[in-house]
């Protein structure tokens, strides 16, 4: 292959070499050991669970050397012939009272009531079935399981003479409670949000959807963090192909750690180079539940309240959960407003630049005079002015976001009043430009989705540049490129722009332009909930009773 490449195309040798190098690199990466032990003696997986308690404890101490929060509590089981035993746990991750009440007390004090012949036959079984008072109890036969369970905040019991361990769930640690969602506030609707504990989150979900069809599959991702990830969906409603695809993409992840669902999002999304998000995120249980009821899949990650929802369509980023709680006429107006806002957030500054630079004839004369008056004496062309103002706005936004709330307000006051006002007074920028940029900023905040708004903000800069060089033609060109990009995007196999394209005019009206009243929402979105498209029965429209 190498020879051919060189002989046939001499001038292409360079790319060929680069390609070869890439291939080599990939090979060497594959050969690399996944889990080298820094000490080089034995990695933690290479031990085995033995029947002798002393051996096990010694091995455990070797594995967890220098881990100050790892504890082994050795004790003697109080049968007629005393047996040595030990519980292993990490300090601070368990309910200590439960450990004492459910493990230590019964094992030390209440063992005498057990018939000795039973005990002699199968000690672990006796302990499991008769002694330990815990709801969450598992038998472990492998060394790796022992390590994993202990690390996952369970309490593990080892008994001398049996090569089996018992893992007891007594997880309890300091956690943030279920609080109000900070990023998705509503006027009407439930006020709780997910928190950082995955079990709490699945419980919140289970409290909403009380159906045996609600499945919560567990996965563990991350070599070191072993982050618990749950796929929640409604069986029979979910598209099996999409589910398989989610599984496939998640299972190929090999990474050190997953600290937030953002890691997963970037690792499994369809279009890694796109400024547009292909996964909806939410920290609201009601929103996630609504998505699941439409046939979508929620990917919940331990350690973050932010849940990913797949597959996601573009139009969903224009919806807020509150749309479905408020009465529908209001929601319809809001939908139209959001469509306008979406375009304003992307196009307004560039339209201003294009029209003032290239197409003044489009502006009615009185307006043109006032704009020209405002622009008189400003030193920069409209393009530079717009870029500067946008940059200033972005700086202000970023500064306000990271600062403590009290200081944040000061920043916005200084930014808006002092800099804005002074810049106009000094004639550095025109007041019309300040108005345009400020309105665009507000418009981008009026979108319900933060990720979508950020994507649009990113595209605003190239849009302004195109407008500055090519006027309306430039804006149209970039819009067309964006449109083509959106058209070719898919989210887990579902066309991203659906139902706009491939078009389904009924759904465009129902999902994008209107929020249909609940009694008219008889069908689920076709591309997602097609397994079972009926959502409710026909004819729920309320009528006065017949006399």
């Amino acid at each position: 292959m190498k020879k051919d490449g060189r002989l046939v195309f001499r001038k292409l040798v360079k790319p060929v070499k680069a390609a070869m190098k890439n291939v080599k690199k990939q090979n060497s990466r594959k050969k690399q050991e996944l889990n080298p032990d820094p000490t080089g003696i034995r990695t933690w997986e290479q031990y085995e669970l033995s029947a002798c308690l002393e051996d096990n404890l010694q091995n455990l101490r070797a594995v967890f050397r220098d881990a100050g929060d790892f504890f082994i509590r050795e004790f003697t089981i109080g049968t007629n012939e005393p047996v040595k035993a030990a519980v292993l746990f990490f300090e601070g991750l368990n309910d200590k009272k439960l450990v004492v009440d459910a493990i230590l007390k019964p094992l030390i004090l209440e063992m005498r009531e057990i018939p000795p012949e039973l005990w002699a036959k199968a000690p672990i079984r006796v302990i499991r079935e008769r002694i330990l008072c815990s709801t969450d109890l598992n038998e472990l036969t492998e060394w790796n399981q022992v390590i994993e369970r202990v690390l996952d905040a369970e309490v593990v019991l080892l008994v001398d003479g049996s090569p089996v361990a018992l893992a007891l769930g007594a997880k309890e640690w300091e956690a943030r409670g279920v609080m109000q969602p900070e990023n998705e506030a509503t006027v009407r609707g439930p006020r709780h949000s997910f928190n950082e504990t995955l079990r709490t989150n699945t419980a919140l979900l289970r409290r909403i959807i009380k159906s045996p069809l609600l499945k919560t599959e567990s996965l563990y991702i991350g070599r070191h963090t072993r982050t618990h990830v749950v796929l929640a969906y409604l069986e029979r409603l979910v598209d099996e192909d999409v589910l398989a695809e989610v599984h496939r993409r998640l299972s190929r992840i090999e990474i050190d750690g997953v600290l937030e669902s953002g890691y997963l999002e970037e690792l499994i999304e369809d279009n890694p180079y796109s400024p547009f998000p292909t996964m909806e995120i939410s920290e609201r249980p009601d929103k996630v539940a609504a998505a699941i009821l439409e046939g979508r899949i929620a990917i919940m990650t331990d350690g973050t309240p932010v849940t990913l929802i797949v597959p996601t369509l573009f139009v969903q980023f224009l919806e807020a959960s509150e749309d479905y709680y408020l009465r529908y006429p209001t929601s319809i107006i809001v939908r139209f407003l959001r469509l306008l806002v979406l375009n304003a957030a992307l196009l307004l500054p560039s339209l201003y630049v294009a029209v003032t630079t290239f197409h003044q004839e489009m502006i009615p004369t009185p307006l043109l005079i006032s704009i020209a008056g405002a622009r008189e004496g400003t030193p920069f062309p409209a393009l530079v002015e717009a870029l500067l103002m946008e940059l200033a706005f972005e700086t202000l936004r970023e500064a306000g976001l990271r600062l403590p709330r009290v200081v944040g307000q000061a920043v916005s006051i200084v930014g808006a009043l002092v800099i804005g006002e002074a810049a106009v007074r000094a004639g550095l920028v025109s007041s019309a430009m300040v108005i345009v940029v400020a309105f665009t900023g507000i418009a981008s905040f009026a979108l319900p989705s933060y990720t979508m708004a950020s994507g649009l903000r990113l595209l605003r800069f190239p849009m302004i540049i195109m407008a500055g060089f090519l006027g309306l033609y430039g804006i149209l060109l970039l819009s067309l490129w964006i449109l083509i990009h959106l058209m070719s995007m898919r989210s887990f196999g579902v066309p991203y722009l659906s139902p706009i394209s491939p078009s389904n005019y009924r759904e465009v009206i129902r999902m994008l332009l209107m929020r249909a009243p609940w009694w008219a929402q008889t069908e689920r979105p076709r591309v997602i909930g097609h397994q079972d498209s009926r959502r409710q029965v026909e004819g729920l429209k309320p009528r006065p009773p017949k006399r």
């Binding site: 051919d4 195309f9 291939v23």
Partner: protein, 77 residues
């Protein structure tokens, strides 16, 4: 201008050729090279003001008699 053109062509080639080579798509590469060569030849010829035959002119000559005859019949001009 020649320099700009060269940069653009190098960029285009660098973007596409490695993929073809990696995929061992020799036939595709051959077609790509032939067409690209034609395109590059035309562009350099235009920039360097080399006289190249214009296919449009041949077509104009070819169809002129027919066109004149038909329009003469229809409009009398």
């Amino acid at each position: 201008m020649v320099l700009l053109l060269t940069v653009i062509f190098l960029a285009l080639i660098a973007l596409e050729v490695p993929k073809l080579v990696q995929g061992k798509m020799w036939r595709e590469l051959a077609v790509y090279s032939a067409l690209m060569f034609l395109g590059m030849f035309l562009s350099y010829a235009k920039v360097l003001r080399i006289k190249i035959p214009n296919p449009d002119e041949w077509i104009r000559h070819l169809y002129k008699p027919l066109s004149e005859a038909v329009f003469h019949y229809l409009t009398g001009k």
